[in-house]
Amino acid sequence: MKARIEITLKAGVLDPQGKAIEGALAGLGFGGVDEVRQGKLIEVTLSETDEKSARQQVEKMCDDLLANTVIENYSYELV
């Protein structure tokens, strides 16, 4: 089972990298871009086959290490 974990900056947290990408898109002539926010995608392959237990494991991984919940939100799907 694979977990696709998406980590994004919370609303209101400044994202200088997103701003730089926004500027680069504008520089390439892409109009109509209101905002760019950058995040992370982490794929974790689990040996666990039970969905409930996999969810518990992934949430603990996110809380303990993968996301800093002071500034980041996470969401995930099992695929």
Partner: protein, 234 residues
């Protein structure tokens, strides 16, 4: 007096800190490896600057979860003074021993130069040799020094006098133009509620004798010396 420097893979200021601590304390300094689970008794622990674990995931994130840190956190909670410099500050924030987080510099540039900071809280084991309001010229060298906490947390820090040093200009004016990395409220260093755990982005161990180009960092070492002597006297 026993002091310990924690060494992570990618630490690069650990030996500078060892030399500085030896000079300050007159005693040998233990170096503890991140993978160790055993930590010798120590009056003081320093988390040095560098790029632990290559700054992968987030600066300090993996170091904060390394085997030795469980011991460091336990010592911190039982009252051992802890100092985190630069990457060490990032590690302290990632462990939750200090609030907030150090994000990518607002300029997106690596900043490596002398800056000025104002000492706002001299009542910590690492700043007590300075006068309140002292202005220091001191180096910073980081890509992720942009201190962030939400407004409520920042107000709590200010209310409890937990801001230890703040970026300022040469005259001591805490101006936006003196902020090298976009830190909220020009914060360069903070302490916890007990004031025994201190994190700061500037590097006092790089400027503690005239051969290094200045002595403004010496106060941190003198503070350690005084704090330890006071603790021993009690």
């Amino acid at each position: 007096m026993k002091s310990t420097v924690i060494v992570f893979p990618g630490s690069n200021c650990d030996r500078d800190m060892k030399v500085a601590l030896e000079k300050a304390t007159g005693s040998t300094v233990d170096m503890a490896w991140h993978g160790d689970t055993d930590l010798k008794p120590s009056d003081l622990i320093v988390l040095p600057g560098g790029f632990s674990y290559g700054d992968y995931l987030r600066p300090g994130a993996m170091a904060a979860k390394s085997p030795i840190m469980a011991n460091v956190i336990a010592r911190a909670k039982s009252g051992t003074p802890i100092l985190g410099i630069c990457n060490g500050f990032q590690v302290l924030c990632e462990t939750g021993l200090l609030p907030g987080v150090l994000m990518r510099n607002a300029s997106l540039r690596y900043v490596c130069r002398d800056v000025h900071v104002k000492v706002e809280q001299p009542e910590t084991p690492f700043t007590l040799a300075y006068q309140k309001g002292a202005i220091l010229r001191i180096p910073v060298a980081h890509h992720d020094g942009n201190y962030f906490a939400d407004a409520d947390q920042l107000d709590r820090l200010e209310g409890e006098d937990q801001v230890v040093v703040r970026y300022c200009n040469e005259d001591g004016n805490v101006a936006a133009s003196a902020n090298p990395n976009g830190s909220q409220r020009n914060i360069a260093g903070i302490c916890d509620g007990s004031r025994r755990i201190v994190g700061m982005m500037p590097h006092p161990e790089r400027l503690f004798e005239s051969a290094l180009g200045g002595c403004d960092g010496l106060g941190v070492l003198d503070s350690i010396k005084q704090a330890v002597n006071t603790a021993v006297a009690h």
